[in-house]
């Protein structure tokens, strides 16, 4: 049996002439929380819909819990919990009616768990779905995604539209709960700072490809910013595995994907750069918007960078 809950190799998806996903490859180990990062329109939702068999891939191999979404979509949907981005449900139903409607579709639906979660998430059971607040709608979607005790939960930007406090609560309560019962969580988002505390692994989707897949701790360990004088930088440039370079007058900030190798290369030239730790947000930015040298001259630019 595979150690991966999700395995994707060389996934390709086109909409007409536009290639949305070109050769996407990544794996999600069982029991881990995987943050699937990418900008809006990067293809995160498309990938998720392919995983659930809602879209047909144009190429590559996809396996979810050892099943092929193209042929075994229904079995996958029985075993996977899914919370869609901006999920809308049947507005005329009351919350209790919706639970009663959904339950028969899942052979392992756990009524007592659903009741418990509804209480814990403070869901008003007799309110119509259309009258729920955004926060309650997300919580309801989450309840529906986990009450059948899925082996894998796919969360597609679930906190979109929630205020910062609700987002924090969501992550603290929900992802922690899922992690505590060792459910694999595949969490797509573009709000990186909120994923950082909970993600075991990170994959960054950019330009239809996975540009990075790594354990979160390893990533933080390897990707750092080196600050050195512009003159020194000119001497050692290019540093190994540069991701982003910002020249601010006399100072240059370089984000590198292998800090150890970059520091070694710099010290060979007698340069001792200052090493600054980055958060996931800054790492993501370096991967998706970096890959070039930028010279910032104006005061506004300098203030913006920091």
């Amino acid at each position: 049996m595979s150690q991966y809950a999700i395995e994707i190799r060389g996934l390709v998806k086109r909409f007409g002439d536009k290639t949305v996903l070109g050769d996407v490859t990544f794996q999600v180990p069982k029991g881990k929380t995987y943050a699937f990062l990418g900008r809006n329109g990067a293809g995160k939702t498309t990938t998720i819909r392919i995983l659930l068999g809602l879209l047909r891939a144009d190429g590559g191999q996809v396996s979810v819990l050892g099943l092929d979404p193209a042929r075994q979509a229904l079995e996958i949907r029985r075993r996977v919990g899914y919370l869609a981005e901006d999920q809308r449900m049947f507005g005329w139903m009351r919350v209790r009616q919706l639970l009663d409607f959904i339950a028969p579709f899942y052979p392992h639906w756990n009524h007592s768990l659903a009741e418990r979660l509804a209480g814990r998430l403070e869901l008003p059971m007799n309110t119509r779905v259309r009258h729920l607040s955004k926060g309650h709608t997300v919580r309801l979607g989450l309840l529906l995604a986990v009450a059948h005790r899925p082996e894998l939960v796919i969360l597609d930007d679930p906190t979109l539209g929630l205020d910062p406090i609700m987002r924090k609560e969501f992550l603290r309560d929900v992802v922690s709960y899922l992690q505590s019962i060792e459910t694999t969580v595949f969490f797509s988002s573009h709000l990186l700072y909120e994923i950082e505390p909970v993600a075991d692994m990170v994959g960054i989707l950019e330009g239809g490809r996975i540009v990075l897949q790594s354990a979160t701790d390893t990533l933080r360990e390897q990707v750092k910013q080196l600050v050195l004088s512009t003159e020194d930088y000119r001497r050692v440039s290019p540093l190994p595995r540069e991701l982003d370079v910002v020249i601010r007058g006399q100072q240059t900030a370089v984000v590198v994907a292998d800090t150890e190798a970059a520091c070694r290369a710099a010290s060979k030239a007698g340069v001792r750069p200052t090493v600054i730790n980055l958060n996931l947000d800054e790492i993501f930015e370096a991967y998706v918007t970096g890959k070039g040298e930028k010279t910032l001259d104006s005061q506004a630019d300098l203030e913006r960078v920091g």
């Binding site: 909409f15 949305v20 939702t45 498309t46 819909r49 659930l52 809602l54 879209l55 047909r56 229904l74 079995e75 949907r77 029985r78 899914y82 869609a84 901006d86 999920q87 809308r88 449900m89 049947f90 507005g91 005329w92 139903m93 009663d100 409607f101 959904i102 028969p104 579709f105 899942y106």
Partner: protein, 237 residues
Amino acid sequence: MIARLIWKEWVEQRWKLALCCVLLVGFSAAGLRARVAADLAVCVLAAFGGCLLLPIFVGMDLLASERAEGSLISLLALPVSSHKILAVKLLIGCGTIVGYMLAACTTICLMAGGREIETGRIISLFAGCTGVGVALLIWMTCLAVRQVSEARCAVVGIVVLVVWVFTMFGFDFLGSFFMGGWSPPKWLPVIHPVALLEASQSSWHWSIVAVGIQVLWVVLLFLWAASRLGRMEGPQR
């Protein structure tokens, strides 16, 4: 599972059954009571309204409203095949048509059966019209399976009707005026459901052939539409 889908569709669509019954029964009763026109005229207007106009009203939001509301993705993401989802939607839509046509037919038979027209003729007219209405709903829903608004679905329904009318009369017209008296094959009208109207007034052999062809059409359209419904193509936001 299917029972829950049927329950959902029924709750969503039942108001249409009530409204169509009120419209059609009200029109028939008022027309037959006032006697401003011949019973046949009232009967034909009610039957044709019920089979050509109201199915478009019934079918235009079977799928499109859910797509526009955003709940279709929630429905499709459930572990149930798109064939079952579409079948249940069509079942409730067809049930609505059968329901209001039955109500109108019963009203007309009770009020005017045997008065100017025989009851048997009224029933056979409504039976044929119900078949046409059901076929129109299925054609329209299947062909408009990816449409995102009720208005577009209604346009698809109107286009279907126009095509049917054209194959019924248009070829005759074109043949006699522009193509030197060329006449279309006699079987041509059978390819669309208006043939059911003729079938309801003719021999049982002809009825079986016409109904058989329509069933085949409906099955093919259903399979095609269900596979399209299950595979959402294009970035749907």
